[in-house]
């Protein structure tokens, strides 16, 4: 049986199709038209597997745009999906930090289930957005700032976490002649502090797994390890943790229903309709 998970995030859209393992995984920019994006990534994933939408037993949508996935059978929050996805690749993990484009979340897990969570979507600090804005101000690509910051020998403390103020502060430090790598290390340190402060409310213990786009930033991971005073782990493709979790939950729900002798109600699966009209 095939299951699909669709994670429509604020910045990127992810789809995976799974049987026992991941058969296809597609990532693309979310853009402004959520429904169109969802259909596009799903179509690509189906092509990769060589299946039609009706061949998928159950589809779970997650992420900030989960409500705009016309072919999904059920919507589940990214909080539950990331937890499920992480539990699959790291069964020992008891804590998840998901650093997304516009928000960040922390989950404490108990036997793979969410026991408590926190979420920040009010303030850009502690999210991918903060790093994007600063990279732009410095004329750098966001994927480059992590490696550059690792060269720092003398971290420069950035006191502002408000994105606008931090941008000003960074520019001022550069003008004072500070080294780029030291400033970047300071920025990563500031975000990691923010994340640490927020997530220490969860009293997380044990192995921490970092997911989401933020997990691709080596500088940030290093700063997080320092703040949490323990190593942090990342899945091989951290951006797919939510979509994988969604597909796994699709499979779980199907199994649970079957055990009760029931079948799940499916959605309208309007994949082609929408692509046709748009």
């Amino acid at each position: 049986m095939l299951f699909a998970g669709v994670d429509l995030g604020s910045t990127t859209a992810k789809v995976v199709i799974m049987e026992k393992d991941v058969l296809a995984s597609i990532l693309g920019p979310t853009g402004a038209e959520h429904r169109r994006t969802a259909n596009k990534v799903m179509t690509e994933a189906l092509d990769q597997v060589g299946a039609a939408i009706d061949d998928i037993e159950y589809v779970v949508a997650t992420g900030y745009g989960r409500i705009n996935v016309p072919f999904a059978d059920k919507q589940i929050t990214e909080i539950s999906c990331h937890a499920r996805g992480v539990h699959w690749s790291f069964p020992s993990a008891t804590a998840v930090i998901d650093i997304g484009g516009q928000d960040s979340k922390g989950m404490r897990l108990n036997k793979g289930k969410v026991a408590d969570f926190v979420m920040n979507d009010k303030c850009a600090a502690g999210t991918g957005r903060f790093l994007e804005v600063i990279s732009e101000a410095l004329g750098l690509k966001v994927e480059d700032i992590g490696p550059i910051s690792l060269k720092s020998q003398n971290i420069i403390k950035i006191s502002n976490v408000c994105t606008v103020f931090a941008e000003q502060e960074v520019v001022a430090k550069l003008a004072e002649g500070a080294k780029l790598e030291d400033i970047l290390a300071g920025l990563h340190d500031a975000i990691a502090s923010r994340i640490n402060a927020m997530f220490s409310r969860l009293k997380m213990q044990g192995d921490i797994v970092v997911t989401g786009g933020g997990a691709l930033n080596t500088g940030l991971l290093k700063a997080l390890e320092e703040k949490f005073a323990q190593p942090v782990f990342t899945p091989s493709s951290p951006q797919f943790a939510g979509a994988i979790g969604a597909a796994l939950l699709a499979s779980d729900l199907t199994g649970q229903a079957a055990a009760k002798g029931k079948t799940l109600k499916k959605g309208h699966r309007r994949l082609e309709e929408v692509t046709f009209f748009t």
Partner: protein, 389 residues
């Protein structure tokens, strides 16, 4: 004269109408010569107004409406609910009020009061000092303060407020409180007979009606929901208690219920805090009113003398929440804290820890009252529901 009162509309439909158009009835009554007195927060002694034939009207904000005019008068770090109230007043939404009474419930309300008075120039304006402490001397002081206020109101209304009239008003308000408790109890069933959103609308409606009309409205809502056709069992829906201060619009409750939960109990200023406890009908009525508002009203702005240890202090302050949870078979609690509500913000970690210690999962939300970020809240609430089912 055709008024909204003698139209056929009744029960939940009437509650919905009044909760959306809160000045509707007040304006009608005013055109008939009644005086409408606006008040903020839960500490205004409603019985005084009713006994003097003044119509109490709770000042509320407007969820979802951007704050425009208040910016020129009140800082953005003020409680957003208070800012919303001021904004509405500056947009003339409260032009039907003959007077306003601000009890000193917290710093935010205190600041609002002088600003309101200065720019809106109501005919009657009164700032009522409410002690923060609960020692015997505090009750005595509050009684003196209430007595001074009573005298002021008598002058305004042009008549004497007799103990007899006050006692009758106390009885009427107590009756309404009892009816609201009866209505609230209809949420105890496996499938609650009234949703959290509907109950909130009813509450809001009761706060913009004179006490005698309140009675009829609550009775008609009870009648209506008791006769509803039986619904399917809601056994999969977690039963949620909402803790917070001012939620005066049903959107938040609606969102929680749309997320697959049932709101079955609350500890809110616009909920149980208004009706859980009444005024003692024996003895000196002003003293009884002082006791009810200062002691029985559960707001973190009032300091409770610690019995000794932290554990005893927490039990003393929050054990009623455990009683609520048990009585209403609650599966989880959502703390909806309005940002900049200092006293509530200080209590929140203790409330969270206490509820968790009695085995209740807790979702702690800090929001800016306007629900501008409701999608983010929805994700939290849905995840919370997914977590506890």
């Amino acid at each position: 004269m055709v008024t909204s009162e003698n139209t056929k509309m009744n029960g939940l439909e009437r509650a919905k109408q009044l909760s959306k158009n809160r000045g509707l009835r007040a304006k009608e009554l005013r055109s008939q010569g009644r005086k409408i007195i606006g008040y903020l927060c839960s500490y205004a002694p409603l019985e005084f107004f009713t006994a003097l034939d003044l119509v109490p009207h709770r000042i509320m904000g407007s969820v979802g409406e951007p704050i425009i005019k208040a910016d020129a008068y009140l800082e953005p770090i003020a409680c957003p609910f208070v800012r919303s109230c001021l904004d509405k007043a500056l947009k003339d939404d409260y032009d039907f009020l003959d007077g306003v009474v601000f009890p000193h419930s917290c710093d935010n309300v205190q600041h609002l009061s002088s600003i309101w008075n200065y720019y809106l120039k109501p005919e009657l304006y009164y700032f009522l000092n409410v002690p923060h402490m609960t020692e015997p001397s505090s009750f005595e002081f509050f009684k003196s303060e209430l007595t001074a206020f009573k005298k002021y109101l008598e002058d305004f209304a042009g008549k004497e407020l007799t103990d007899q009239a006050l006692l009758e008003a106390i009885k009427l308000h107590n009756k309404n409180r009892a009816l609201l408790r009866e209505l609230n109890a209809l949420r105890k069933q496996d499938t609650p007979l009234i949703s959290g959103a509907e109950l909130l609308q009813t509450m809001v409606a009761t706060m913009v009606l004179p006490a005698d009309e309140e009675t009829g409205l609550i009775e008609s809502v009870i009648e209506e929901v008791k006769n509803r056709p039986p619904k399917d069992s809601d056994e999969d829906r977690p039963r949620i208690m909402i803790y917070g201060c001012e939620i005066d619009s049903p959107e938040f409750m609606q969102m929680v219920e749309d997320s697959g939960a049932s709101v079955v109990m609350d500890d809110l200023c616009t909920g149980t805090r208004g009706y859980w406890e009444g005024v003692d009908e024996t003895g000196d009525p002003v003293e009884a009113i002082a006791n009810r508002y200062l002691d029985k009203l559960r707001c973190p702005r009032t300091y409770r003398v610690s019995p000794g240890t932290h554990e005893a202090d927490i039990a003393n302050r929050f054990e009623y929440l455990k009683e609520y949870a048990e009585e209403f078979d609650v599966n989880g609690a959502i703390l909806y804290i309005i940002r900049y509500c200092d006293t509530q913000e200080f209590d929140a970690p203790d409330v969270r820890d206490y509820l968790q210690s009695i085995g209740l999962p807790v979702l702690h939300i800090e929001d800016d009252y306007t629900l501008a970020g409701i999608e983010g809240l929805r994700t939290r609430v849905q995840a919370f529901v997914e977590m506890i089912v």
